[in-house]
Amino acid sequence: MSVLGIYRPGDSVVHRLPAGVKLLALAGIGAVSAFVHAPAPAIALVGVAVLGFVAAAIPAAAAARQLRPLLPVVVLVGAVQWFNRGGPAAATTVGVLAALLLLATLVSLTTPTAEIVQALVALVAPLRRFGIDPERVGLLLALGIRAVPQIVDLARTIRDAQRARGLTADPRAFAVPLIVRSLRQADLTGEALRARGIDD
């Protein structure tokens, strides 16, 4: 089961690839995409991403569920590009953006969160000589990941309390307690780390 509820267990070739390989491939394709200036290679990148989903046997509905919240951004970027630089440039930008979003989603859908964190820790290991502690980087990532469901829970609790008191249309009554309680939660996490001797 995934910490963030995104990972879909499977036994496909994409699932079996080491997390570090997937992350490096994603970074590599991201770097290459900077040199894509025409619609055809952009569409080819989208094709590569779609092939990845097919190879991973991810149902289209599951992929769409992850990508739907990002669609407005893609549409907005495409519209701005169309207005400023014309159709081909818009198609190129949208194609590259869509391909990268699809590939990032594919990595998330086929890799457990813990493996992503471990891979990132391994990838930053060479930076130890520059004073960067890879274990600390991993701890920061893990704490960040752990904070997501905590803040979602906080938001849900505050929204329920708002509803119970008939304050559904007051964004301030939502935002202020959410920020205050999130900061309080951060304090408590720091206290727990101290109590457990982490960072001593």
């Binding site: 813990a114 469901p149 905590q150 996490t189 457990r196 001797g197 982490i198």
Partner: protein, 226 residues
């Protein structure tokens, strides 16, 4: 057992004195602390682990001044919070238990072995890769306890560990405490949890108003509430 010394300890939160001139030596295997909300009992317990430092006086664990030797003391003293959600800081059950072993400089294989054994011992072995935030309240408190016990502390301080649990889970936690080899300092409102304890302190307005057997401490607590 370890020796926990409170030597003329007071603690102020702002202008308010929440612990007032407490001097104690705790050597017993099972020590309970009871008292009303805001009486200072949690502050007292937090001083043993160095989460709170005295404004006046010293707290010593096996001769080590907690304020000056916090790192060494925290290796000896594990702390369990009331709300396990505040204590569990890692995304998955396995990672949270492994976190405490970071400072022990063990091999990966040894960490994996210890984590697995610890989780199996409390029946959470099947949940090792489960997101910690999706566990039940009882399972979370067991995880919090396991994450501390896996580091093999000499002393275990628990600050109202059963307050947020239903009766079954509360009894499960108390039952597990009974079998531990560690010296236990338990802050609680659950007076039945103190059965068989060697020594129980009743705290009121930051002072120790009773120090003795569980029955006497409960009577003193009830009297303080009257």
């Amino acid at each position: 057992m370890s020796e926990i010394v409170f030597d003329g300890v007071s603690h102020d939160f702002g202008a308010e004195r929440v612990v007032d001139d407490v001097s104690l030596v705790l050597r017993e295997r099972r020590v309970g602390i009871v008292g009303a909300n805001g009486s200072g009992k949690s502050t007292l317990a937090r001083m043993i682990n160095g989460l709170v430092e005295p404004t006046v006086g010293r707290v010593l664990v096996d001769g080590l001044d907690v304020a000056r030797h916090g790192r060494e003391v925290r290796r000896r003293v594990g702390f369990v919070f009331t709300n396990a959600d505040n204590q569990i800081v890692m995304p998955t059950v396995r990672e949270d238990v492994a976190l405490g072993l970071r400072r022990h400089r063990l091999s990966r294989a040894e960490v994996a072995h210890r984590v697995e054994a610890a989780l199996d011992a409390v029946g959470l072995g099947d949940h090792a890769d489960h997101p910690a935030h999706l566990l039940s309240s009882g399972q979370k408190q067991l995880l919090a306890l396991t994450s501390v016990l896996v580091t093999e502390p000499d002393v275990l301080v628990l600050d109202e560990p059963t307050t947020l649990l239903d009766l079954r889970n509360a009894r499960d936690v108390v039952r597990r405490l009974t079998g531990l080899r560690q010296q236990v300092v338990l802050v609680t409102h659950d007076l039945t949890a103190l059965d068989g304890f060697d020594r129980v302190l009743t705290i009121d307005a930051g002072r120790v108003v009773f120090d003795g057997d569980p029955a006497g401490a409960v009577a003193a607590y009830v009297a303080a509430m009257a």
